[in-house]
Symmetry: C2
Subunit: 204 residues, 2 copies
């Protein structure tokens, strides 16, 4: 913590490592990313994104867990849950749909994120073709996640939805509070509580 | 139809035009796309993709309408509906989830598609950085569509789901047969039938 350079670089290294799993990065690109991103820690239950924000960034989760939800006539509908080593954002700054902005991202645990401004992303797209490869691979992963959520929530019974989530995202079951899991699964808390206590045990 | 070159190129032109809205294409890239893609017409209710296929391509819809569905214990769950000027595919050849393949794409109308082999896409990614830009923009659009489906289906009432679909995809309401719309909206055909006849009229 005394070497100033180490202080500059170390908080952003998890993002560099994440990107380098997707494509090898030119030094100039790494330098720009390290210069233009910042590490921020949010306490539990804080809002990273809400409709009143300008929403000018996406967020790499270094440590913690967050949920995305939409407010529908007072009710919160949890549409996704994500944990460390993922990039999250509402990505709605250029949504093709003419609909009001109504996206929230809230921390479920104390969460450390690296803030990646859209301005930086646009700069990287213009200067480094590697960024298009990263963007494509990250979006492909997000598309698969969204497709999976879309299928899971359409399963007709709580048992099937829970079984599907357990098959695709087992790490969430023991970690995410019941009320958020229930909202995400579109089921009543009591129903999920019984299921989780019954099935949850087998998964250990 | 007499000029042989025109015959070669014309069936693929809609795909070239679609790509060129996303990024300007090098001549060599256009030539390769035209050489390695084929135009195919499927009659109504035919399968473009099913789990027994090798699924080695994605499809640009030139004309027509298709639906994606998944079989869940005998039941067909329609998870998306798409029409001309869109690229469709199950994109599950590299799904991050260890789950059985169970994706179907079926034509709702007689549908003309341009078959884009994954092998060509990989070739284009290696040879033309423009392809990464196209891939990113197409995936971004698909992500937004999937995110919208995921939200729409979580709305608690048939009225809200229908209103949301009408707001984001009005063109589907009068065009897509009732049973597919109902499955996509996760509601009973009778319920949707009443709603559509009531609300549908106002939208004209």
């Amino acid at each position: 913590m005394i070497d100033p350079q180490a202080e500059d670089i170390s908080p952003i290294q998890p993002l560099i490592t994440y990107f380098e799993k997707l494509v090898s990065l030119p030094e100039a690109m790494k330098k720009l990313i390290i210069k233009e991103t910042t590490s921020v820690v949010y306490k539990k239950n804080k809002f990273i994104v809400s409709p009143i924000d300008l929403e000018d960034a996406v967020y790499f989760i270094v440590k913690g867990a967050v949920r995305g939800f939409v407010k529908d006539s007072g009710q919160q509908i949890t549409t996704w849950i994500s944990v460390e080593d993922n990039i999250v954002g509402t990505f709605s700054n250029d949504s093709p749909f003419k609909v009001e902005k109504n996206d929230y991202i809230q921390t479920i645990e104390e969460t450390e994120v690296i803030v990646i401004p859209y301005q930086l992303i646009e700069m990287l797209y213009l200067s480094f073709h590697e960024m298009s490869i990263i963007g494509r691979k990250v979006l492909k992963f997000h598309y698969h996640e969204s497709k999976e959520r879309n299928f899971m929530i359409r399963l007709p019974t709580t048992e099937r939805r829970f079984a599907r989530l357990r098959q695709t995202h087992p790490h969430l079951l023991s970690r995410i509070p019941l009320q958020h899991l229930a909202s995400y699964l579109g089921v009543r808390i009591e129903t999920l509580s019984r299921l989780r206590s019954r099935i949850g045990r087998d998964s250990h």
